[in-house]
């Protein structure tokens, strides 16, 4: 970047151009989300910028609608167990991968991370076929299992980043100083990866909360927020949709900000 040595006029022009470019990219990326939020407060059936009027009616309608509430409840019933279980599975896998030596360790990592790189729509399709083969059926529990397959590796990935930053001799040092395995985990290893685990859990919740493809195949008759929105979009749009979509977005953005704060805090701490 030219920002480091901005002395001449040409450089300042270059800097200006650079900021304009960054601003345009940000605008391009944010416009859909911002328009969604603006639309959710628009008083009218079909959105128009020209005669905009503010209202909270659609939020009220969203929060009082039985079907929306049902979809929210189902989403929470899926996201909360997925967050807890994927955090446990992903953290255990991350500790195994980063802190232990075992045969085929690199192959284990590739295999464990494979679901992340598989197209979600195909992953969902495969799961749906398999679920009927083994008589698992469709609903909240199959959705939880399906999401775990995709989200646990992501938690593993996030926790691994923190765990790889820890001095490779730390476990041996702890044992050398008389720590048994329980003490090693409770006093040393888990506290050191705690920030990574919390970030991983937040990621897990956000990904589960926003997930459409897997639940669309596995939730069956139970609608979640994302499948509810998709249903409304295809069979009768109502202005409640932007309000519901914005609600999902608010929850996600709060958690993402939380994760970012944690990330910065651990960077500040140095090690």
């Amino acid at each position: 970047m030219s920002t480091k040595h901005s002395s001449g006029l040409g450089d300042r022009f270059g800097d200006g151009l650079w900021y304009v470019y960054v601003g345009l990219v940000a605008l391009f990326l944010m416009t859909p989300l911002v328009s969604l939020v603006i639309a959710s407060f628009y008083d009218g059936r079909f959105f128009s910028i020209v005669d905009y009027e503010f209202t909270l009616n659609w939020y009220e309608a969203a929060l009082t609608s039985g079907s929306v509430r049902g979809a929210f409840t189902n989403t929470v019933y899926i996201s909360v167990p997925v967050t807890i279980l994927s955090t446990i599975i992903g953290t255990a896998a991350a500790i195994a991968y980063t802190r232990y030596e075992f045969p085929f360790r690199e192959q284990f990592k590739l295999f464990a991370l494979l679901p992340i790189f598989f197209p979600l729509i195909l992953l969902g399709l495969g799961m749906s076929m398999w679920a009927s083969q083994i008589n698992l059926g469709y609903g909240v529990v199959p959705s939880i299992i399906g999401e775990l397959v995709w989200i646990s590796p992501i938690v593993m990935f996030v926790v691994s980043i923190t765990a790889l930053g820890i001095d490779p001799n730390i476990e041996e040092a702890a044992k050398d100083l008389g720590a048994d395995t329980v003490t090693l985990y409770r006093k040393i290893l888990l506290p050191l990866i705690a920030d990574g685990v919390v970030s991983g859990a937040i990621f897990a919740f956000v990904l589960s909360w926003n997930n459409y493809y897997i639940v669309s195949y596995l939730s069956g008759p139970q609608s979640t927020i994302t499948t509810w929105i998709h249903g409304r979009m295809t069979q009768g749009f109502t202005p409640v949709v932007p309000a519901v979509a914005s609600l999902i977005f608010y929850v996600s953005i709060l958690l993402v900000i939380g994760a970012a704060v944690l990330e910065y805090r651990s960077v500040d701490e140095g090690e």
Binding site: D167, K175, D176, L177, G178, A179, I188, G270
Partner: protein
């Protein structure tokens, strides 16, 4: 007394430590010295219990501890990276081994910090990550001493510190070893550390202990050419002919201007090389000592109060170096490009076998 017998470590087909025997008396400062990859860290890890030997035994005061877990072994390892717990304060780091071993804490943290020359009022409640390299080293040491191990193992903990600090800590380690009735085993590739601190030296090369003894003995009479070169800046000459004459050998080389007799009290076979340390040699325009060779001065480098004179021999490909005090060298009026005699008192020569 710590005794290792036939200690062996293999990684697949690679033999890292090859049936090593070592014996270290209680309270000794022993150093295992050798180049990178010679197996010294593997050997130390087997003594600490972090690695199981392929075969052989480790005994401490007669008790077999070969397979004792590190947490149940009266040894403590100070890591090269120090491995302080970054989420804890200095105090918590030091209390950690005491809590694990059920030792009463009391004023022990303060005592230990004073022992490693850190002011407890200033440092005890700092976060481990706030310390400088030298301070971390001291805290790591205090933490290892905290539960009174019988043996303190040190894996080059001074390697990453700057020269002045390293010198000071080396001295302090040696003092600490005198103060405490504790065996220190130090592993290093640095000859300087090995000579300065140790009572006993083990030279390790390629998984084998190739010489054991006091630093002085090994410096004076290295067993092999490798040790001679490793132990200090030295010129090595291959000999063309040797002839035993009582306790001495008459040695010849086509490079040398003279034939001379050098004492050799050794049972490692016939000498093959003559070694002379840089600082035992000088350059002169005339041959005045009883051993020397003609060389061309290729470079003159000032190293503090001495000068390194790099020379090449027209008769061989060899590179030889003389080290002289600056004043003495100036007095010779020798310059780069001159043809001179690199020479020394033949009694300063060291003969070594292969």
């Amino acid at each position: 007394m710590l005794q290792a017998t036939n200690l062996r470590a293999e990684y697949g087909s690679l033999v890292a430590v090859n049936d090593v025997d070592l014996q270290i008396e209680t309270g000794q400062f022993a150093t295992i010295v050798g180049p990178s990859g010679c197996g010294k860290t593997t050997l130390l890890r087997m003594l600490a219990g972090h690695q199981e030997p392929t075969s052989g035994t480790v005994e401490l005061n007669g008790e077999d501890i070969t397979y004792t877990e590190p947490q149940n072994r009266p040894t403590s390892l100070v890591f090269q990276s120090w491995a302080l717990f970054p989420h804890m304060t200095v105090r918590e780091n030091i209390e950690f081994p005491m809590r694990n071993n059920g030792i009463e804490i009391g004023d022990r943290v303060e005592e230990l910090l004073e022992q490693v020359r850190l002011d407890p009022d200033v440092h005890a409640d700092k976060q481990a990550t706030e310390l400088s390299g030298g301070q971390k080293q001291r805290v790591a040491l205090a933490r290892s001493l905290a539960y009174n191990p019988d043996i303190l193992l040190l894996d080059e903990p001074l390697a990453s510190l700057d020269y002045v600090l390293r010198k000071r800590l080396q001295r302090e380690l040696a003092d600490l070893n005198d103060e405490l009735d504790m065996t220190f085993i130090y592993v290093t590739h640095s000859l300087e550390s090995a000579l300065l601190m140790s009572d006993k030296l083990f030279v390790l090369d390629d998984g084998d202990i190739i010489q054991t003894g006091s630093p002085e003995d090994i410096y004076r009479q290295p067993n092999t050419k490798f040790i001679a070169e490793f132990m200090g800046d030295a010129n090595v000459f291959e000999l063309d002919g040797v002839e035993q004459k009582g306790g001495s050998y008459e040695v010849q080389s086509s490079l040398f201007a003279q034939t001379t007799t050098v004492p050799y009290h050794h049972d490692h076979g016939e000498p093959k090389y003559l070694v002379v340390r840089y600082d035992d040699t000088a350059v002169e325009t005339e041959l005045t000592e009883d051993l020397g060779l003609e060389v061309d001065v290729e470079n003159v480098l000032v190293r503090g109060n001495t000068v390194l004179i790099e020379c090449g021999s027209p008769a061989a490909d060899g590179e030889y170096v003389a080290e002289m005090p600056v004043d003495e060298f100036r007095a010779t009026n020798i310059e780069k490009g001159d043809t001179v005699f690199l020479q020394w008192d033949s009694a300063k020569s060291i003969l070594v076998p292969e």
